[in-house]
């Protein structure tokens, strides 16, 4: 077996792996679009100690941080069809549950886990903005909404951004587990290509490269954005 790497396969499969990037990015984008506002709102319930929602967020964050994503995937993938079957049978809807595109499961799982991570990110970021900032904003006549939008959020965002970046990179990495839901992303596409001739080393090298490129670009993008946001940072003298 030590006949070295199959370079032609290595190059060909690189493009196969690359063709999975749009799905990966699509799932990542949807998860972030759901998680950013939801995570922020739930973080506010934590900060303001709103009775039931506060406890709910606490348990929710603890669960997501305490369980592996693959097991969250297993649970969603096994439970959603059961729940849907029960509902459709009750109302006699005619939906074929096993025809549902796996991408919907991916949206659910990754939005669910990213929201929890972002609750913590926003909570710690919001707690770095001193209460005086909000009070001062209100004192000069801004409404609560305006005070958050113009004063608190810009400052909190500067602190939150590096952690949002980490969360995004982790999310992109986590989508590689989409194979468990037969999601046609980077890892699954390249793996299927490798099944033909058992060129697994080459395939995984390609997957490895694609993720490194993807994540480095995302990190670089966040760095640029962070630089732009820096001007909002409160400088204590």
């Amino acid at each position: 077996m030590s006949d070295g790497l199959n370079y032609k396969f290595l190059v060909d499969t690189f493009f196969v792996a690359l063709s999975g990037v749009p799905i990966t990015l699509f799932v990542t984008a949807v998860a972030l679009l759901v998680a950013l506002p939801l995570g922020f709102l739930l973080a506010l319930t934590r900060i303001n100690q709103i009775p039931i929602l506060n406890t709910f967020s606490q348990v929710y964050v603890s669960f997501v941080r305490g369980t592996p994503i693959i097991i969250q995937i297993f649970i969603v993938y096994a439970s959603v069809p059961l729940i849907l079957t029960a509902i459709t049978e009750k109302y006699n809807w005619n939906i074929k549950i096993y025809d549902i595109n796996p991408i919907w499961y991916a949206f659910i799982v990754f939005s669910f886990s990213t929201t929890a991570i972002l609750i913590e990110v926003f909570r710690s970021a919001l707690s770095t903005v001193s209460k005086g900032q909000l009070e001062a904003a209100q004192a000069v006549g801004l409404t609560n909404f305006q005070a958050y939008r113009r004063i608190v959020i810009p400052q909190a965002l500067v602190v939150a951004l590096p952690n949002i970046c980490t969360a995004t990179v982790n999310l992109i990495k986590a989508t590689s587990l989409g194979y468990a839901m037969s999601l046609q992303e980077i890892t699954l596409k390249a793996k299927v290509a490798a099944n033909v001739g058992y060129n697994y080393v080459e395939a995984y090298l390609d997957i490895f490269l694609v993720y490194i490129i993807l994540c480095s670009l995302v990190e670089y993008g966040f760095k640029l954005y962070e630089k732009r946001l820096r001007k909002y940072q409160y400088v204590s003298s």
């Binding site: 070295g4 305490g66 369980t67 990179v169 990495k173 587990l177 890892t187 995984y204 090298l205």
Partner: protein, 238 residues
């Protein structure tokens, strides 16, 4: 809802614990070895990052960046398929060694990257003056590290070390994909033996096991942190 009950039976959650829990041994063994080797390797990487050698610093930083960008499952398969075929080139046959070895190699590589950052940031959080003061009162550099720097850096590193351990435990759940029979592997075997019925209950049992373990680790590190920061005195006026 009667149909739902046919597919979901909560009693399966409880009855699967006795079958699953013994396999935590494998999970712990693999995680424990990865932590030991990873911490050691991470210490070397951290000293490369903190050292004066420019090349060593570049190499260590490059390693951390690459590892941070690689999904565990990709690294796992890369090691699983890659290590034996590299060994082939040197005439060493590694195709039938225990899968646990590949798992430990993978998570050692990953944990080392995490630890190198934990150690580096803990070290950098200690003021330089501490070391200088220790040396100026007559301690040897080694003594200064052991008695002054290390105890303080440890307190800073502990929470991050705990988070790293939780992350490792969770990423370790992927080891079943290369055939390790740990707690997740066993769960999948049980499900296969049940002809894929009652999978949900067993996955819920797995989630509960991991959840409790993570909480225990978190609580444990919280206690340790309190214990070690006992002697800590922050200087209020400088």
């Amino acid at each position: 809802m009667s149909n739902m009950e046919k597919y979901f039976d909560a009693s399966y959650i409880w009855s699967s614990f006795p079958a699953l829990l013994p396999f935590l041994k494998i999970t712990f063994l693999v995680a424990g070895l990865s932590i030991i080797f990873g911490t050691f390797f991470g210490l070397i990487l951290a000293s490369m990052k903190l050292g004066k050698n420019k090349v060593a610093r570049k190499v260590a930083n490059f390693y951390t960046t690459i590892l941070r960008c690689t999904p565990s499952i990709v690294l796992l398969f890369l090691v699983y398929y890659g290590v034996p075929s590299i060994a082939d080139n040197f005439g060493i046959y590694l195709h039938d060694i225990d899968t646990a070895v590949f798992v430990v190699i993978t998570f050692t590589l990953q944990f080392a990257a995490i630890m190198s950052e934990v150690i580096r940031s803990a070290y950098e959080s200690i003021e330089k003056g501490q070391f200088e003061a220790a040396v100026s009162v007559g301690l040897s550099p080694f003594q200064a590290y052991r008695r002054i720097i290390f105890p303080q850096a440890l307190v800073v590193a502990l929470p991050n070390f705990g988070n790293g351990m939780i992350a490792l435990l969770q990423e370790g759940s992927l080891a079943y994909t290369i055939g390790l029979i740990d707690v997740v592997g066993k769960a999948n075997l049980i499900i296969a033996a049940n002809y894929n019925t009652h999978a949900l209950e067993i996955f819920i049992a797995l989630a509960i096991i991991y959840w409790i373990l993570s909480i225990l680790i978190e609580k444990g590190f919280g206690k340790l942190e309190k214990m070690f920061s006992k002697g800590k005195q922050t200087i209020k006026a400088t």
